[in-house]
Amino acid sequence: MTTITIQVNGKQLATEPDKTILEVCRANDIEILTMCHLKGVMDVGACRLCLVEIEGINKLLSACTTKVAANMVIRTDTERIKKYQRITTELFFAERNHVCSVCVANGKCELQQLGYKVGMDHIRYPFLYPKCELDSSHAWYVIDHNRCIMCTRCVRVCNEVEGAHNWDVMNRGTQVRVISDFNSPWGESVTCTSCGKCVHACPTGAIWPKAIVQGQLEKKPGIINELVEKRKMKL
């Protein structure tokens, strides 16, 4: 096994070359903020929260999709990065209709926690207030596009882990939406197996079980990776 050395925030780290910067940093207790990363499914670099500075490269790169290389000098804690994290977080809130006080995920939401972490005390961008629908056609679950941040964790877990590919994405820019099958009501989906993995993968209150009210939501994103690891085991 080859071992390479990289430097993160002035600290020398020994690692393997096929790892991502995010994996190496997390293994060494270096905090990197993420929203779209979900252990167990492929990374897509969608949320742009895990941007890092790499010496010799002018632009910021996403830690979840960039592999480490020998002698790479990385910084995760500069003022520039913090500024971008704050901007990104504010844009999440400004883009859709997030009302934490009445949200089913209040107190259990990764986006809410992110707001606290980056010190978001106000939002500097005009709210778009898009008209988003709530799809309650499924017998057990609800998807509320008002609270979706387009992390696509539900899309990937449905495709890669469950193998159903009920969820996908349509349109671009502010019109982008997660869709069920070919943009039909979730309850009419022919591919959905009602497994509930998307509920656990969703970092906000966008997908939740119908019978649950605020204070009762328990999402377990960790079970996705557990499933993946268990499937790798040879009996």
Partner: protein
Amino acid sequence: MDNNEKRTIRISPVTRIEGHARITIQLDEKGEVENAQFHVNEFRGFEKFCEGRMYTEMPVITPRICGICPISHSIASVKACEMIQGLEPSYTGDLLRRLIHLGQNISSHALSFFHLSSPDFLLGYDSDPALRNIIGVAQKFPDIAKRGIRLRQFGQEISERITGKKIHIMGIAPGGMAFPLSEENRQALQVWIPEAKMTVQTGISIIKKYMEENKEMVESFANSPSLYMGMVGPDGEGELYDGKLRFIDEEGNILQDQLDPARYLEFIAERSVEWSFLKYPYYRPLGFEKGFYRVGPLARLNVASRMKTTLAQQEFLEFKKIGNGKPVHGTFYFHYARLIEALCNVEEAEQLLANPAITSNDIQTHGRWNHPEGIGCCEAPRGTLFHHYKTDPSGKLISVNLLIATGQNNPSMNRSITEVARQYVKGSDVKEGMLNRVESAIRCYDPCLSCSTHAMGQMPMQVEVVDAEGKILYQVERG
């Protein structure tokens, strides 16, 4: 804004409470008060923007209507949800909800009496407006002010000890509660009971002393008769959380009894007026104006045959003597009624806390969408509250109707301020004391719109005196 525009806005299904009020007093050619109108010119829109949401979200969304009575909204809402699910709450879940509701009522009544109204009784209606507030009371009567503040704290602590939050709590769920009450927290709440009882009794002695010393004013203060509606238990006892409705007429005759709240539309109708976002509800069988009724503590005591608890029952019998067996119409008696009710609430909370089942973990039953429509009702501190939801087969709301206590008192509030204005306003020479008396007529009802200024004990209010040609002669603003 022309009339057409006004009509367009008014037609919208809106919830219209809290915030700012405006009073217009209309004078005739002789300078006498012809009419007075109480305007609520806020637009909230809850009924509209809740359409399209899941019905299970309503026990969390609707409490945001009000920071004083959020639990009543949550409870009316959760009952509507349970009707949709065809579900009965668990025994302990029901007890906990009842306890939280009592806590809110105690807290709200303490706020209304000690923080907002007691400055008038302890310092005087014509005292310096700069000191006529809870701060002024704290300076002159520090013990009373402290007790009042602590009584409110007790009410809120009930919510906090069960759900972790004092105001906009979470955890009131269809089928019961999401959180249990621990033994430690039960004991911590029990410690409060003796002090809470004593504080309410102090309040009762203050109001009784004032009523005795100002008999003429108290009896003549906005005392026109009206119908009353309130919730009662199976034996006609006063009930806040879960009961049936009773209507009585001006003479105390029972018009309707043990009426299922789900039938409210058969008995209550609403009409819009041009000059306010608050609608005019009335008792449908008697029609508009004749059917104006009042809700709230005074109404609840007027309709009740008895109180549930010992000390409150003793006060209730004294209260009944005021009307010689007939309903008590004087608006001022709202304060007295409120305190009798608070006493009953503290005693009932004591009984609930002594029930061993209250700390059980069997707090919730579960169900799914079964019926398209749900109606929930409870007694909020200011009166009977209805939540009415219609859903599509997936549980998404297609129609929301909220009938709120302040709205039901609206016709009577207008009538009361007209009476008070006629009594105290002469010509265009408006004194500050007059403004305070008109304001206090509104304060008797403790409407939700005063939420915005509870901290300072004053409502942001504007009084206009208008002559027969519509010209504004005098204008006083507050807030």
